[in-house]
Symmetry: none
Subunit: 193 residues, 4 copies
DNA sequence: CATGAATGAGCCTTCATTCAT
DNA sequence: AATGAATGAAGGCTCATTCAT
């Protein structure tokens, strides 16, 4: 409906490019389209045809992960425990950010290169808002936090984990500790403050 | 006794360079020594003579703020309320990070360009450790946070504020909200967990 | 099978670059890639794409001459007169060094930038060794000279000619005189010394 | 008669500078006046006052060695054996060139920075000419070599030794071998050629 | 569609030399 | 005399992007 399906060879190139980019992101190398082209055994022009900017490529790399998060978000909406649903959703989000280096920049970016990214971010934001509203309504969460705070806070935790450093395994651990602390703070509504 | 005082003209240039750098940092432009030189109306060589690397210049720009924090830290050590002292110290720190764009990169950097920076960072870290230990001993803080978590968490909050965006005034506000939440989480020891 | 032939335009640029470099070498100007680019009317990047370092370009400039020497060397091996063959080979070598300013640095360099250069140098060295060994075996040459002395001595003569100065024509003449003297010394084995 | 003697402190500085330069030359580091100043613990200006150019400093470093050569040359003139005198003189010269890195560039330079250098070079050239003429007159030397060939040939040998490489001890050895060969060639006049 | 050569702005850095102090 | 700060031309190299083939 939206996009004409790619010719078979073009699709193969598209896959190669994304795979190479994924590998580069995982090893922390900044995405340079020339570089990606060389490693993929393709011409620069081909890469540019598929991805007009480094950001577009990065977002493409991040997409599957964002989709998984969005899927999980839809399930979370079905959860009847307001606090539990929020907690699970945020946990998943932070785990993803810490595990997948492509998410942080995409999430924090003020503008998106691909419409699909915008869709997914909007969807996630909407889920987050809903879950937070429910929790707030259930008085399970301090009232001075708005839904616009969720993304920044998740980015903040991911960044904190990054600054802390350590092996990938360490990082997940650290992320859980930091998130636990923050969630405790979210929960403990300043009743009499 | 420490450093030979600069000649008057050299001092003037030093000041100019730092002032230009300060301005660039404040408007979010990355520091490039050639650029700084041009804007300061000086030769490149002059800037290189004073600051061997962009990092050295950045740290110089950050120094006054770090010194103010360190001074405040020394006072905080005299505070007899373990929790209050920690809270005040972290508040100041986050306010500074959010207000002054030179702090975040300097704080997060694994290596320092200037000895003075190392001194100040060490001093701040030591104050933080002491205050956290006291609070932990007073059971005012959840036990699973170590002193090595303080810097990452402060950087995380600063980053969250950055992602949230808004005017400088907004940002201080946001910082207070985020910090308050986190502190609540620090305080509320997971009693039965 | 060896190298993909260059595209027509790329080949034209390659030629231009080498031609400019040749001219610079001939007039004694040191090769600077930026400079070459400007004179060739090309972008710096183009020159860097073709030749990663000044040495690579210089060796490319020297290659045709080295190939001619190598070809002559192969013929010299067929000469049945041990002394005559050596003499002819060394004469050609020195004439080349004196005539073509690109040879001296390439010959004297301890490391090569291009594999082709290494091939050619190895080949020439091997011819020289063979010819010297034959002459030594025929007792036509003083025994205290090793094949590792050939290159230095040829470089030495070329350098002597350079110091002497004069027009290109003068220089060939001088080279012949110097080489004749040296060859006389090589021949006259110190019988009773 | 010529120069006002330096003030005591100025003389001390002069000495320091030359000593530092000597050390740099010996270790093969190119002479940079800024660098020399720093190592000597002096201001750049001071070094410039004493030596207007790097060449002037280099020539100053070379001077003692040139003077020793000149002194030996004057003695050689008293030697009654034409060939022996020439041989001894050239041997000394080559040994010096190979041993002292300051000589090669000074000798090969077409122009001098210091009058004293010109004096010494002239003197040496004159000695060489005289010795060669005597040897030629005694028919001890092939007639097609002129006195203007001596300097180039010595430079050539030094350069050959340099290209050959090896430890300082090796180099003297190599120099003797190369010079012996060349001298043999000088001696063996091409009687019937 | 794919290719990859070309581009050139832009950044970094060094160093010989001058000149105010 | 000595100092050393300032200068800025000069050279090196990278990389995002375009466009002819």
């Amino acid at each position: 409906m939206t996009t004409t399906p790619l010719r078979k060879d073009a699709a193969r190139n598209w896959d190669r490019i994304v795979a190479v980019a994924r590998a580069l992101v995982d090893q922390g190398t900044p995405l340079q389209l020339n570089d990606v082209a060389r490693r993929a055994g393709l011409g620069v022009g081909t890469v540019y045809r598929h991805f007009a900017t480094p950001e577009a490529l990065l977002e493409t790399v991040a997409t599957p992960c964002l989709e998984a998060l969005a899927a999980h978000g839809r399930q979370a909406l079905a959860d009847t425990d307001p606090w539990g649903a929020l907690e699970a959703f945020l946990t998943r989000t932070v785990e993803a950010q810490v595990t997948d280096a492509s998410l942080a920049p995409v999430t924090a970016a003020p503008a998106d290169a691909l419409p699909r990214t915008t869709e997914l971010k909007t969807s996630l934001w909407s889920v987050g808002t809903t879950l937070l509203d429910r929790a707030t309504a259930a008085e399970a969460v301090r009232p001075d936090l708005a839904s616009t705070d969720l993304v920044p806070l998740m980015c903040g935790i991911a960044h904190a984990v990054h600054v802390h450093g350590g092996t990938p395994a360490d990082r997940i651990d650290t992320a859980h500790r930091y998130l636990a602390t923050l969630l405790e703070g979210l929960k403990a509504a300043p009743t009499h403050a």
